[in-house]
Amino acid sequence: MATSGVVLSTETGRLKPGKLKLSVRQRHEERAFWAFISPWIIGFILFTGGPIIASLLLSFSSYNVQTAPQFTGLQNYVDLFNDPLFTKSLSVTAFYTLLVVPFNIILALLLAVLLNQKVKGQALFRTLFYAPTVISGVAISFIWEWMLNPQFGLVNYWLSFIGIDNIQWFQGDNSVIPSFVLMTTTSIGGTMIIFLASLQSLPTDLYEAAEIDGASRFMQFFRITVPLLSPVILFNVIIGIIGSFQVFTPAYVVTQGGPDYNSYFYVYYLFNTAFSEFRMGYASAQAWILLVIIALLTYLSLKISDRYVYYDDAPAGGKGN
C-alpha cells in the first residue's frame, strides 16, 4: 500500500519526504485500510494504550478508586525502594525465573526432538503432550496442589516406595519455588510447538553431510541442531523471562504467597496492592518498575545473545544484523 507524505525519487530510487499523488483507486484503498484497521486502533487506544498511559500517570499519585487521584510526585517510587516486600517479592520472582526458564527450554527442546522422530503414533504423542497447554492455569494449579499434597498426594505416595518421605512441596520454605517450576511441565506445550516447527524447517543437507563425516547423533544435535535453533531458543528464553516475571496464578491459587513470603511473586504483590489494599497509584508504580526490569532483561539477553546466536541470513564472513 502506498504511504502518503513520502515520494519515491525516480532519479535516485530513494524515498524522499513530499506529497504523494495517489490515484483514485489508491485513495479508495487507503480509506479502506483505515476503515478496516480502525477497530484495532480504537481498541488499542481504549483498552491498552490508554490504560498504559493512565497507569503511568497514576504511578505519580495516591488513588484508592473511590476518591480522585492526588498527585504525590515520586513518592510511590521512593516508598517502593524502601519497601522490604518489594525486594522480597523481586528476589522470589528472580529465583523462580532462574530455575523455570532453563528448565522449560531444555525440557521443551528435548520433547520437541523426541516428537520430531518418525515413529508410529507421532500425531497422537504430539497431541497428548500439547493438550495440557489448553487447560486453564487455575485448573492446572488445583491438580498439582492435589498431586503434591504432602499428606494425600500421589507424588509423595509413589516416592514413599523408594524410601523418600515427607517432602513438603508447596508448604516448605525451600521446596515451594522448585514445586512451582515442576508444575510448569504441564504448560510447556507452547514452547515445544515452536521448537518442533523450527526443527521441521532445518535443512537436511547439513545432517547428511555430518553423517557422511561420521558425526554421531549426539554431535549432530549439539553442532547442527542447537546452533540452527539458537534464534528460536533466544526467542523462547526471552518470552520465558517475560512470562516468569509475571507469574501469578499458582501463588494466588495454591500458596497465597506463603510460606513466610517464599512464593510472594512480584505480580501477586502488585495484585494485592491494587485489589486488596486498593492502592492503585502504588500498584501502577510497581507495574512500571516491572516493565523497566523486563525491558532491561530483554535488552541484556539480546546483547549477550550476539555472541551465541547464529542467524542463517548473516552475510558471508560476518554476524547477523
Binding site: Q168, Q171, D260, R279, Y282
Partner: protein, 439 residues
C-alpha cells in the same frame, strides 16, 4: 530474522506488563430494579434466588437483580461499583473480605425505617443489632446470623479412649486449657506416622488474633474496634505472646498438626472432617460444615485459660448502600430478608446457622440438639455462653482486615512451622503490619 525477533519481543514486553441526598421520587406503580449482591456460596445462592422469587411475587413493581460474586472478589466489585456510581442497593458487608469496617461509611442508617416499622426487630438480640452501628449510634445493618466459637470434638474417638465428653457450661471452671491438653495427649495416636496419625487437638480459632483473646490479650487496642483503624499493633502483651506460645506448644508436643499439615489435611475438607482430629477449636460454622461427618461429634465451650477468656462472635448483617436510588424499595427487600417466618428461617435454621433472633434460636437449638444427640438445655448453654463471653470478630470491625490477616498469617505460619522463634516472628509481623497503608 534477528530484527523481527527483537520487534516481537518488545511488543510482547510492553503489551503484557503495563496494561494495567436528594433522590428522585418514584411513583408507586413504577417498576424499579434493585441490585442485590451476594457471595457465590451454593446454599446461599439457592436461598437468595428463592427469596427473590417470593419477594417479587409480593412486590411486582420491584425487580431484584442478583449479583453473585466469589467472596474473595467482592471487595473489588463493590469498590468499583461505588466508584462507577452504580453501587449494589442491598448487600451483606461481611460477605466481603473487607467486612463491615470497610463499608461503614457507605451504609445507609436504617433508624427512620425501623422507627416506622418497629416490629421488624422484634426478638432480635439487642447486643447483635448494636454491633453494626455508626459512631452516632445509628443502625447500619440488620443481623442475619450470629455464630460463636466453640470446641468441636469427635465422640467416637473420645469413646474409644474412654474419656468423658467436655462440658457444655461456659462457667464450668474444670474445663481448662490444661485439661484440654491432657485429653488431647490421651487422644493422640500414631505420633510421627503422618499417614495414620490422629491429632488430639487442632487450634483453628479464627481470625488471627483469636488465640490472644483466648488468653486475655489482643494485638489491637479497644479503640481500634470502634474507629475501625488497626493502629499500632501490640505484639508484646502477655495474651498475644502466651496465645502464640501455647498454640506452638501443641504442635511441638505433636498433639496438634502444624499449619502445613492442617493445609494438607484440609485438602479433603476441614481437618476435623478427616476424622484424624479428636478436638478442634473453630468458629460456629462447624455446626453445618461438620454435618456430613462420618462419625458422631459434639460441641463444647472454648476452655478457661487465665480467667480473661474472650470468645469470637461472627455476626453477619444485611445493609443498604447509602447512595441507592431506591431506599424505600431497598428497605422493603431488607425487611423481607430478615423476616423470621420466611427467608431468615431458611437462611439460618434450615441451613444450620445460628439465628440472631429469639424465636428462631429456639427452633435452631431444638434442631441441633436432635442432630448432635445432646439436650436442648446443653445447646442453649453453649449458645448463651458464646453470646455472653463473645465480642465481635476483628475481621468485621477492622478496616482492611483481609490484608491484615494475610500479613499476620505469613508470620504466624512461619512460627508454627518452626521456621522462626516466637519473638522473631512477632517482631517481623509488627514490621509488616506497620508497613501496610490501609486507607
Amino acid at each position: 530474522m534477528k530484527r523481527g525477533v527483537k520487534l516481537l519481543l518488545c511488543a510482547c514486553a510492553v503489551s503484557s506488563t503495563a496494561s494495567l441526598a436528594a433522590l428522585p421520587a418514584v411513583a408507586a406503580d413504577q417498576t424499579v430494579t434493585l441490585n442485590w449482591l451476594i457471595r457465590s456460596d451454593p446454599a446461599e445462592m439457592a436461598w437468595a434466588k428463592n427469596v427473590i422469587t417470593s419477594f417479587q411475587k409480593d412486590n411486582p413493581t420491584i425487580k431484584v437483580n442478583l449479583i453473585i460474586i466469589p467472596q474473595a472478589q467482592i471487595d473489588q466489585k463493590i469498590q468499583t461499583m461505588i466508584a462507577g456510581g452504580n453501587p449494589p442497593d442491598v448487600f451483606m458487608p461481611n460477605w466481603a473480605n473487607g467486612g463491615f469496617a470497610t463499608y461503614k461509611s457507605d451504609l445507609l442508617p436504617l433508624d427512620s425505617y425501623i422507627k416506622s416499622d418497629p416490629t421488624v426487630l422484634k426478638g432480635f438480640f439487642p447486643k447483635l443489632v448494636r454491633t453494626y452501628s455508626s459512631s452516632g449510634g445509628q443502625v447500619l445493618g440488620i443481623p442475619i446470623l450470629s455464630l460463636g466459637s466453640f470446641l468441636f470434638y469427635n465422640k467416637d474417638l473420645f469413646d474409644k479412649a474412654h474419656i468423658p465428653y467436655p462440658p457444655t457450661d461456659w462457667k464450668d471452671h474444670s474445663w481448662t486449657w490444661a485439661k484440654m491438653v491432657s485429653d488431647a495427649e490421651k487422644l493422640a495416636q500414631n505420633k510421627g506416622n503422618q499417614a495414620k496419625e490422629v491429632y488430639g487437638i487442632n487450634d483453628a480459632l479464627w481470625p488471627e488474633n483469636a488465640d490472644s483473646w483466648l488468653w486475655g490479650g489482643d494485638y489491637f487496642s479497644k479503640s481500634s474496634y470502634v474507629t475501625g483503624k488497626m493502629g499500632t499493633p501490640d505484639v508484646t502483651n502477655q495474651g498475644v505472646v502466651t496465645g502464640v506460645e501455647q498454640h506452638l506448644k501443641l504442635i511441638q508436643d505433636k498433639i496438634s498438626p502444624s499449619p502445613n499439615l492442617t493445609t494438607a489435611l484440609s485438602a479433603l475438607g476441614d481437618a476435623f472432617l478427616s476424622g484424624r482430629v479428636a478436638m478442634e477449636l473453630n468458629g460456629g460454622w462447624g455446626f453445618w460444615t461438620f454435618a456430613p461427618a462420618k462419625f458422631r461429634w459434639g460441641v463444647a465451650p472454648i476452655p478457661w485459660t487465665n480467667g480473661q477468656r474472650r470468645d469470637v462472635l461472627f455476626t453477619d448483617q444485611v445493609s443498604i448502600e447509602k447512595s441507592t436510588k431506591y431506599p424505600a424499595q431497598a428497605w422493603k427487600l431488607v425487611k423481607y430478608i430478615v423476616n423470621p417466618n420466611g427467608p431468615l428461617k431458611a437462611l439460618t435454621v434450615d441451613q444450620g446457622a445460628t439465628p440472631p433472633q429469639a424465636a428462631l434460636l429456639t427452633q435452631w437449638e431444638q434442631q441441633e440438639a436432635k442432630k448432635l444427640g445432646m439436650t436442648v438445655a446443653q445447646i442453649q448453654q453453649l449458645q448463651n455462653g458464646a453470646l455472653q463471653y463473645g465480642s465481635e470478630s476483628a475481621n468485621h470491625l477492622l478496616f482492611g482486615y483481609g490484608t491484615i490477616a494475610s500479613t499476620m498469617d505469613q508470620s504466624l505460619n512461619a512460627i508454627y512451622n518452626g521456621h522462626k522463634s516466637v519473638k522473631d516472628g512477632l517482631t517481623e509481623m509488627k514490621q509488616h503490619l506497620e508497613a501496610l497503608h490501609l486507607q
